[in-house]
Symmetry: D3
Subunit: 69 residues, 6 copies
């Protein structure tokens, strides 16, 4: 499926930290930076997310802010 | 100012495309990937965003989804 | 690609209203309700969105509120 | 109160799964599809959300993505 | 209608700046601060938003970040 | 760091309620209103958020809805 979200960053899962309702997933992006994602535990479980798995971090453009030092 | 958002990705602005209300900013991230951001035109103008400027793409963790091929 | 977003609602595009930066897409969902989406014009163009096209409206669960009459 | 969010989908609560801070609410929409929502536990409690209750799933248009098979 | 969003801040509209698809609404909150909102032009028009009108700025708690100086 | 988000509301933390993955932070805004925020527990811990601390509630304009009575 093709999706309208503009940002797909490739990486590998570093850690998966499940709560009761939500799960925190840390992805090590190709290029070295880290990306933290909060998704539902149900999603994380149904996608069998685990350290080492290759994934994409996906972000809708309207959710990206810009910062300047 | 320190902010609770978990994701700060360094990069350089590639293009700035202003609309009437919103502006589309494309950032070339360190590491090579691109990140597209939609912010208000007022913000883009007041921060003097222009190609070549060093910026951060900032994303709240709850706005990051995970995809698997 | 499988994505962590929990909500995929099937429908058919009713109208596409492009602005300079963003495009408004109205989807008639199977079941009869309407769903309005704002995506970037670049996405709408690259996906060739047009009335009659079969699409999914996709929503991350953390972006869904609940209302009671 | 009238609200600027464009999407109000009628349905009936199927399940309510409380965590410590957030609660997952699954709504069976009129028309048959399901919608998953994450709201604060405080909100879910103060609205007395429970299976069978008639509710609306409410979504701001800028949070709706479009997907194509 | 009661809504699960946790934040309802009372104020009065200061300016309404319509684009093609989205409209920027600036609200002067009771207490003095300003709040900027981007909603669809269709919503702003259908609610007859105009300077001086009493409104609420409404925000889902998961969209609020915290900053420290 | 200067950030493109348009809304920075000054206040003082009233309560901090940690879950497993997310933490709920209630801020008493200057002017009297309250603002509820959900951030990751990791962020709340690393910023040492606690009652009485002076903070800003920060919101991207595209996440602000308008309501009318």
């Amino acid at each position: 499926m093709k999706i309208s979200a503009r940002n797909f960053l490739k990486g590998k899962i570093k850690t998966v930290n499940p709560g009761v309702v939500n799960t925190e997933v840390v992805v090590e992006l190709t290029g070295g930076a880290e990306m933290v994602s909060i998704i539902t535990k149900t999603s994380a479980d149904s996608m069998s997310l685990a350290p080492g798995k290759e994934v994409y971090a996906i972000i809708k453009a309207s959710n990206v802010m810009i910062g300047v030092d």
